[in-house]
Symmetry: C2
Subunit: 360 residues, 2 copies
């Protein structure tokens, strides 16, 4: 069996098969999304995510098929004219481009690939901006935005909605939801589930803005509007038939993580992050792209390689370890390594031993 | 174990668990949608669907998370101004409404709930219409449009694109793809798989129209545009991470159905349809909504009940059989029964015996 240290889709969590079997035995693949059985599943999954991610009582959880779709739905639903994007990699850039494709004015502040934001307080964001789009954890560059910086952004721009992409950092990322209007992730990253489900976390202010745009007659799309999500959510239902088994399995996974405790998950992640840092410090063949430790993603490690990364990836694959190649501008010279809960400290240790042999 | 004769989500196919296990063992839940393993899966699934549904060489298969999303993407991508909708139930009506929500001029020809189109040649469709939207099989009303009528529509309106909703009739429906620009379905109906995947079948003319609209600067959305689907399809990839395991399992299911043969699947469906017809003829407590046998869906049976349908559904449920209630205007007085390949002739026989006891 291959072991996936790719950054998503990634290694399936050891518990996944069991949770799937339970869901299958309960015939969840056959139930209606207007049945009581589904409503109970939706409510349970939201409750478990609320605990795991420390959501506020007003944040709702909506389900989409992917985080990519959430980019589009969010821009369509809460932005009439202008969005502002903190671009720290290829995915935040794509989010920015989506806004343009949807006919909005999209402003951005971009840092060079592999760098973080030195001082978010210095970023000039016009007061007319309706939505500030941040990517807390950039899967392409391995750069994160520290929690305090996200809080600072909201404090300085209370008139704008703010959202953050935690696709590859949830549940590790300690987002302060008192200062975050929306966030989103997909389950094939740190939750260790197969792809096919996105999670969109939305507060009252965002719904209010969406309702305002609707009233003004702004085109918000026909499918998966915030209005349709909220109307159905009141009854623990969804606008159309969702990936029901995935919602059920996500609920079980979040409950499992809650039993383990988010503190333990964070501690394990940090232990593995230290192992990665130590590896980098002791192997001149790989280098982080920045010296600012605060800017380094804890869950997605990106290294520039002295040798040809393609070679490294192939040799690791021959040893049954799948790492990810670089993305976008980093494609030719970088490797990426996931630090997700599906891999234990021991898994990481063994993989790094192997990598040490390969790059030496 | 309950047996689902609901019209979708419905009974999972007896082969589903095996196919899922195979996919899981092959670690398909972890692979990248830019990997060779994924490309092979995509190509295989398309090939099997091409055989099963008798697609022409020019029709491509794109994957979305749901058929509902396809309604929206299709209207956004190939309709600049005007769509025309043949409305024969709640879902075709919703498709029609989507067009209005997207700011298009949406024209329609509507028949009363439970009736079919007597003479499609008489339906006046302006030559300015860009897309004629039909619902070959209406899951809400149990009404179908015969294949010949769909051909007639295209022959009379060659200047318009035509699409058809085969959500709850594929693969049974013998659509003539020489005369059909686009079609779509989801896998939780007659394919007997859990929800989470839609299939969009698209020909050259549709892509050409989409490219024309793109060139004119018409807003087509940012995610899942026809352009992005086609660009990725050239390399057997998808615009963003799809429900990879579902695509893999669908390919295995289509291959299984091809081994059985579409003729056999159609024959079995028709045997069970005759059983349903015989049941109706011999039980005055249930009645089809029309005497036109050609208008009766072969895969979704809808009956108006003399007695309270809620009572019937509850009594059947107590006997481990789940039937569907009526939908929309038929909610208070109808029941719906799926005639999908997941249930054998024997399954249908036993269920009808039980139903006979319940309504007598």
């Amino acid at each position: 069996m291959q072991q996936f240290f790719t950054v998503g889709p990634s290694q399936l969590h050891p518990q996944y098969e069991l949770f799937w079997q339970e869901s299958y035995r309960n015939q969840v693949g056959s139930i209606s999304h207007r049945s009581q059985q589904f409503r109970d599943i939706y409510r349970f999954t939201e409750e478990q995510l609320r605990i795991l991610l420390s959501l506020t009582p007003e944040h709702r959880v909506y389900f989409t098929p992917s985080a990519t779709e959430i980019w589009e739905r969010m821009l369509l639903n809460v932005v009439e004219n202008t969005s502002f994007h903190l671009v720290n990699g290829a995915f935040s850039k794509r989010f920015y481009e989506f806004s343009g494709l949807l006919g909005k004015q999209n402003l951005c502040y971009e840092v060079p690939q592999g760098q973080g934001f030195d001082d978010v307080a210095q970023i000039e964001i016009p007061s007319s901006v309706e939505l500030i789009c941040t990517t807390q954890n950039e899967t392409s560059s391995g750069i994160q935005i520290p929690t305090e910086d996200l809080i600072l952004l909201k404090d300085r721009h209370p008139q704008s909605l703010i959202c953050t992409d935690i696709v590859s950092s949830a549940p590790y990322a300690a987002v302060n939801f008192e200062k975050m209007d929306m966030a989103f992730f997909s389950v094939q990253k740190a939750f260790g589930l197969p792809p096919g489900l996105g999670v969109w976390i939305v507060n009252d202010a965002s719904l209010k803005k969406a309702a305002h745009l609707k009233q003004k007659g702004i085109l918000q799309g026909a499918h998966h509007t915030l209005e349709s999500f909220e109307k159905n959510h009141l009854n623990w239902e969804t606008p159309s038939t969702p990936n029901v088994m995935a919602i059920d399995v996500l609920g079980k996974m979040a409950a499992y993580m809650n039993r383990m405790g988010i503190d333990q998950i964070r501690k394990d992640t940090e232990v593995k992050f230290e192992m990665l840092k130590h590896f980098e410090a002791s192997h001149p063949g790989v280098r982080y792209t920045t010296n600012h430790v605060a800017h380094l993603s804890r869950t997605v490690c990106v290294w520039t390689c002295e040798k040809n990364p393609k070679d490294i990836l192939e040799k690791m694959k021959a040893r049954q370890y799948l790492l990810a190649g670089g993305y976008g501008v980093g494609k030719a010279e970088q490797i990426r390594i996931a630090n997700f809960p599906s891999s234990t400290v021991q898994d990481m240790e063994k993989m790094l031993q192997c990598l040490s042999e390969v790059i030496s």
